[in-house]
């Protein structure tokens, strides 16, 4: 799970995609998904994949972080593709999965998570936004404690392969993490409530479009032209 790495990149990396508004990026993702899910052209999909990698390169995104994330959807889509026993449609399924993941990950890597959570929770009841923020905050608090526990465990047990004793030790780590997190949750929530969460403090949402959004619009038009002629 690269959530911590992604968060760091999304907040601290400087690139032109970061200067685009979250709303424009969300619309770009939806537009790109609509084009790639409605195409049957493998050429278009390959072109779109190259185009997305190109966009990532112009934004100086770390391909070492970016590309491995695409492997998971490709793995799951490959189960469907192989079961189909038709290489042309199989490749179409793989291409769709990989390109969709590339698009979503690229946008997530270049948008401050707080803005994305704001967008996602906008059409939902207020309590959903609170839940998302609280989860995100808790994840980072937990991750630090979890990494310390895992480091201590590695020092004590050394490097080991899969075994029942390892599963047992890891289950105890899960249990300890859960109990610690549960104890922490009440205090953290009270703290956030004191700071105004759920008591009139509004989640800040950025609905403004910016000049850099025109670049995304141009990119989407290029994709649309490619889709039309493919």
């Amino acid at each position: 799970m690269n959530l911590a790495t992604m968060d760091n990149l999304a907040v601290n990396h400087r690139c032109w995609l970061q200067r685009c508004s979250p709303l424009a990026k969300a619309l770009f993702v939806l537009g790109a998904l609509a084009f790639l899910l409605t195409t049957r052209s493998l050429t278009f999909l390959v072109g779109l994949m190259i185009f997305m990698v190109g966009l990532a390169l112009t934004n100086r995104l770390a391909l070492g972080v970016f590309l491995p994330l695409v492997l998971v959807p490709v793995f799951f889509a490959s189960v469907f593709a192989i079961s189909l026993r038709d290489w042309s449609v199989g490749l179409l399924v793989l291409g769709r999965a990989a390109t969709a993941a590339l698009t979503v990950v690229m946008v997530f890597m270049t948008t401050a998570p707080v803005r994305i959570l704001g967008l996602i929770s906008a059409p939902m009841p207020e309590v959903f936004g609170e839940l998302m923020y609280f989860t995100y905050r808790s994840f980072f608090l937990l991750l630090e404690s979890l990494n310390n526990t895992l480091a201590a465990l590695r020092l004590r047990r050394g490097k080991e392969r899969f075994s029942l004793s390892r599963v047992r030790a890891m289950a105890q780590v899960y249990g300890m993490t859960l109990v610690r997190a549960w104890d922490m949750a009440g205090r953290q929530y009270d703290l956030l409530r004191l700071r105004g969460l759920g008591q009139g403090l509004r989640i800040s949402r950025d609905w403004h479009l910016r000049t850099w959004d025109l670049t995304l619009l141009a990119a989407l038009i290029c994709i649309g032209v490619g889709w039309y002629y493919a």
């Binding site: 790639l36 469907f80 991750l143 895992l150 899969f162 599963v167 890891m170 899960y174």
Partner: protein, 224 residues
């Protein structure tokens, strides 16, 4: 990977739209209940955070557990579903499961929380903790796996039609579907067998550990 994370472009549009609608309705119902029980909100968020953090715990196998069934047992079915929906939103943003299929993925994983939560409380809750956890988690994982096979079956029909259209031939759809499903199950069954064994073992060990260090923790009644 603890369960099948469906990717974009695999399922027919009516299925993923239906999944989004069903997920949305369940979420709104769960949120309406949660609004009146705000003291449970930190618990739901923490369980979602634990679900996300749990993916970082190395088991020595190329799989991770998500503790969805345990979430249903600890938080109750609806709140467990809500926690898993949030986990799915974050994982979808990381490309781990598609964005359009977020609804279906949430229903597949959330079904574990729903079934395990209902069954655990139906069996009498924490009075016979470990046997009840074992039965609830096992049944929940089975239901979730069967749902994955059902969804894959539907996807197979759609992809078969696409394949027939691509080659402009008149393929017997029923035969194609059964071939697709047969191959899919050959790939999916070993993954499921390992996952069920690991998730069940970990869930029981976690429940046992918590019960040992915090006796009576499962008797809080939050999930009821």
């Amino acid at each position: 990977m603890s369960h099948m994370h469906m990717s974009d472009g695999v399922l027919p549009w009516w299925l993923w739209v239906g999944g989004l609608v069903c997920s949305l309705l369940l979420t709104l119902w769960a949120l309406a209940r949660l609004r009146n029980q705000r003291r449970l909100l930190p618990g739901v968020a923490i369980m979602a955070a634990v679900g996300l953090a749990a993916m970082n715990i190395p088991l020595g196998l190329p799989i991770h557990v998500n503790l969805a069934a345990l979430a249903g047992i600890i938080l109750g079915p609806l709140n467990g579903f809500l926690a898993m929906l949030i986990v799915n939103i974050f994982t979808a943003l990381l490309g781990h499961g598609g964005l359009t299929v977020l609804g279906i993925n949430s229903l597949l994983v959330g079904s574990e929380a729903l079934v395990a939560g209902l069954l655990f409380y139906g069996l009498g809750g924490a009075r016979r903790l470990l046997p009840n956890v074992a039965v609830a988690v096992l049944v929940a994982l089975m239901v979730s796996s069967l749902l994955v096979v059902a969804v894959a079956g539907v996807a197979g029909v759609e992809l078969g039609t696409l394949s027939a259209h691509e080659h402009e031939d008149d393929v017997d759809n029923g035969k194609h579907e059964s071939n697709f499903l047969k191959t899919f199950i050959i790939f999916f069954a070993p993954l499921v067998a390992v996952w069920v064994a690991v998730e069940l073992t970990v869930s029981m060990l976690v429940a046992g550990y918590i019960n040992k260090v915090r006796g009576g923790w499962f008797l809080r009644g939050d999930g009821s």
